[in-house]
C-alpha cells in the first residue's frame, strides 16, 4: 500500500528533508513497504504483553549530580561554520 503524495510531502517537511517532485512516487512506495511490515507486526495479538525496553530487562543506571564536564567552548566553536561573541550563528529564526 503506497503512501499518498501529500503525506510524503508533509513527512518531508517535518523531517526537513528535501524530496524532489520526481522521487515522490519512489519514496511513497518505499514508505508503503515499511508500513506493510508494520501492519504485519500490528496483526500479532499482544494483549497483556508489556512493551519490551531491553531484551535482558535491564534498567537505567543513574549518575551522581556532579559537574564533570570542563569548558571546551573554543574546541566546539571551531567546528561551527559561523560564530560570534561565543555564540553559534544560524539563519535568523523568529517565532
Amino acid at each position: 500500500m503506497a503512501v499518498d503524495a501529500q503525506t510524503v510531502e508533509k513527512l518531508a517537511e517535518l523531517a526537513r528533508i528535501a524530496i524532489s517532485e520526481e522521487t515522490i512516487d519512489e519514496v511513497s512506495n518505499r514508505l508503503g513497504d515499511v508500513l506493510q511490515l508494520v501492519d504485519q507486526l500490528q496483526a500479532v495479538n499482544t494483549d497483556g504483553v508489556e512493551p519490551m525496553a531491553h531484551p535482558l530487562d535491564a534498567v537505567q543506571v543513574l549518575r551522581k549530580d556532579e559537574v564533570t564536564e570542563p569548558n571546551r567552548r573554543d574546541e566546539f566553536l571551531a567546528l561551527a561554520p559561523q560564530t560570534e561573541a561565543g555564540l553559534y550563528l544560524v539563519p535568523k529564526v523568529i517565532d
Binding site: K10, E13, L14, R16, P51, A53, H54, A58, V59, Q60, V61, L62, R63, K64, D65, E66, V67, T68, E69, N71, R72, R73, F76, L77, Q82, E84, A85, G86, L87, Y88, L89, V90, P91, K92, V93, I94, D95
Partner: protein, 483 residues
Amino acid sequence: MEWEVVIGLEVHVQLSTQSKIFSGASTAFGAEPNTQACAVDLAMPGTLPVPNEEAFRYAVMFGLAMNAEIGKRSVFERKNYFYPDLPKGYQTTQLEKPIVGAGKVEIHLEDGSSKTVRLHHAHLEEDAGKSLHEDFHGMSGIDLNRAGTPLIEIVSEPDMRSAAEAVAYLKKIHSIVTYLGISDGDMSQGSLRCDANVSVRLKGEEELGTRAEIKNLNSFRFIEKAIKVEAQRQIDLIEDGGKVVQETRLYDSDKNETRSMRSKEVANDYRYFPCPDLLPVVLTDEYVDIIRGELPELPDAKCARFEKDYGLSAYDADQLTQERATADYFEQVAAKSGEPKLAANWVMGELAALLNREEKSIADSPVSAEHLAGLIARIKDNTISSKIAKQVFEVMANGDGDADAVIEAKGLKQVSDTGAIEKMVDDVIAASGAQVENYRNAAPDKRPKMMGYFVGQIMKASKGQANPQMINKILKDKLDALL
C-alpha cells in the same frame, strides 16, 4: 449571557541540580555563552545521555508534596521538532509513563476561600538553549548553556475558573518547589515559566470550549493580565459570531494583547517515540519512602501550625507561610520576642514595606530577625511605644545597631515617670481653656472621644515618648476632677 473562563496551566520548573539532566555540564545561571554546553548537550555524534539521579529525587519530592502517584517505572520519549536551540532535533521528555502521576493541591484565594486543583501529571524533561535575535548581521545567535537543564513540567487539569485562581495555583506551585528546595523559583531568570490553556463557555455548559494556549508567561502579573485579555478576546469573538481556533498565542505585555504565533500552525506533529538511548528508570518503594520521610514541612502544614500554635488568623498564617524564608524569619522573631502576634504584624507590615521599598528579599533584610525581636521586646516591656518603635525600626534599617542601642543613642526611651507625665498633662490642660470648657459641657458618652485632642497635645509635648496608657489614665482623672 454569562461566560465562564476555564484555565489549565502547564508550569515548567527548572530543578536546581548542579549538573544537567543527561550530562555532567554545569547548570549555573549567568555563565559566558556556551561555556557550559558539553558534547552531549551539543548532540555531537556518538554521545549518549546518562540521567542525573538528583533530578529524579527532586521530581519524586514534588510528586509526594502534590499527593500524587509516583511512577515507579518511568520512560523517556523523544519529542521531535527542529529549532536551532535544540541541537538534537528532539527534546528528551516523558509522555506515556511520567515520573509523577495524578495528584491534587489546595489553593487559597484572596477572599479566604480554598479550592482543590487536580494535577494531571508532572514529567521530567530537558530545557532547550536560548536564541538571541539581536543583530548578528541578520543571523540569530545560539547559546546552549541552558540546553539540558532539568525541568519538571507540571500539567494541571482545567480546574481554574478565573485569572485569580490561576495565579493562586501558580503561587502554590512556586511555594511548594521553593519549600522543597528543588528550584530557586526565580521567574525573572526563567526558573519557573508558565503556559496557560484558556477557553470560555457559557455558564452551566458541560463541554469545554476550544482552547488557545498562551506561551511563556514569566511573571504572576503577566499571567493574570494575559488570561483576562485572552478570555475577553474569545468572548468578543464568539459574541460577534466568530469561532475560537485552537492555536498557540503569544502575550505582548506592552500592548496588553495576545496574538497568534502563525508559524507554529503548520503541522504540530511531534512524532513521539520511546527514546532508544535510555532504559526505563525504576524506583523502589523503599527509595520513595526514604524521600517521603525526608520531606520538609510544607506550606499547608506550616500554615495550620501557625494558626494553632501562634494563634494567628488564617489570613496572616497564609501570608507568612507562602515563602519559606518569610516563615522562618517570622518564627525566629516570634521565638526570640515571645510575641507571635506582634511579630506577625511587624513582619507583614513595616518589614514587608521596607523590603518592598528597597527591592530586597527577606534573606537580605537590612533588619535581622534578632534585631526585630529585640525591638518587639522593648514595645512589650513599655520601654517604647509602637509609634516610637517605627522610628527605631527605620534607624535599624540603616544598619545602626540593635533596638537597645538606637533607643539609648537617640534618647527615645518612653517616659513612664508619673511626675513628669502629670506635669505635661497639667500644662496642656492649663493651655486649653476652651477645650476644657467643651469637655465639661459635653454629654458623658461624648467625653472619651474628646480626650483625643488632649492626648495629641501631650504626645506632641513629649515628642511621642510619653507612655500612652499612663497619659490616658492621668488625663482622665484630672479632667474628671474639673467636672
